[in-house]
């Protein structure tokens, strides 16, 4: 390889790193929802990063997270093409997972409410949701993705995400009720 080629590779790698590095954690979180286990999720992200690197010349530089999540979804479908794809945010993975690391060891009273009784009721309510609504709610409210990013993961238009999100949230809100969500308000 020539010195000039090395320079081109270095510049390309640097540009790619700047765009992609901040998104690795969210890619991994979404990949865990798709694959249902940590080693497969890491493999999926690694393969997606390689595909993204090869496609960098076709990327317009806008919305890198949505671009990367689209690649994660396509790569996953490709890797799973001989198996039935799992719905995003599979419930077994969510239900069996351990609590987030780094959680505060001394939660505030409000956090204690969120982590305790409300958290349990929320788990039950989420488990009863239609998987399509649950996926939209988990991607936007739990993983904090934008509508467009969630649409990229789900492979549907933004309007469909909005509709599923709205219906999912409304069902959760009604299922939990004001006494659980806003205790003491308007007493």
């Amino acid at each position: 390889m020539t010195e000039g080629q090395n320079d081109v590779d270095s510049a390309r790698t640097l540009a790619f790193r700047e765009q992609v590095e901040p998104e690795i954690e969210v890619m991994l979180r979404v990949a865990m929802g798709l694959t249902r286990n940590r080693p497969d999720a890491e493999d999926l992200v690694q393969e997606s990063l390689l595909r993204a690197y090869r496609a960098l010349d076709r990327f317009d530089g806008r919305h890198p997270r949505a671009w990367l999540l689209t690649i994660v979804r396509h790569t996953h479908l490709n890797m799973q093409r001989r198996k039935r794809p799992d719905p995003v945010g599979d419930w077994d993975l969510v239900r069996d997972s351990r609590p987030a690391f780094g959680a505060s060891s001394q939660p505030s009273a409000e956090d204690a409410h969120l982590d305790g009784e409300l958290s349990e009721q929320l788990s039950d309510a989420l488990s009863e949701l239609d998987p399509r609504f649950r996926a939209a709610v988990v991607l936007v409210d739990v993983h904090d993705l934008s509508y467009a990013e969630a649409a990229a993961v789900m492979g549907v238009p933004v309007g469909t995400v909005m509709s599923r999100l709205s219906r999912g949230r409304d069902r959760l809100r009604r299922r939990l009720g004001p006494q659980t969500l806003t205790p003491g308000r308007f007493a």
């Binding site: 790619f16 509508y147 909005m162």
Partner: protein, 92 residues
Amino acid sequence: MKQSLRQMITCHWSARRIQRYLDADPSAPLTPGEVAKIEAHLAMCEKCTQTAAEHLALHRALSHWPGVPTPDAESVDRLRSFLGHLPEEDAR
């Protein structure tokens, strides 16, 4: 009678936009006029204010919800390190 009908229509109109108002997502922004109309309605409608409070509480509960797996730091580090080897991987 007229006033309560108008109130009902505005409640219905607001209910259809309250989530977009709270999310403020760049993919589906409300117009400044719609934002002003919702805010004016919330200032005088207890029912819609309660709905907005419940949506906010639900979002907060979901964003704190411990039921989703979190990537471990080692995986993130390995993938960051992988970024530095992409040219070699690409050449394989």
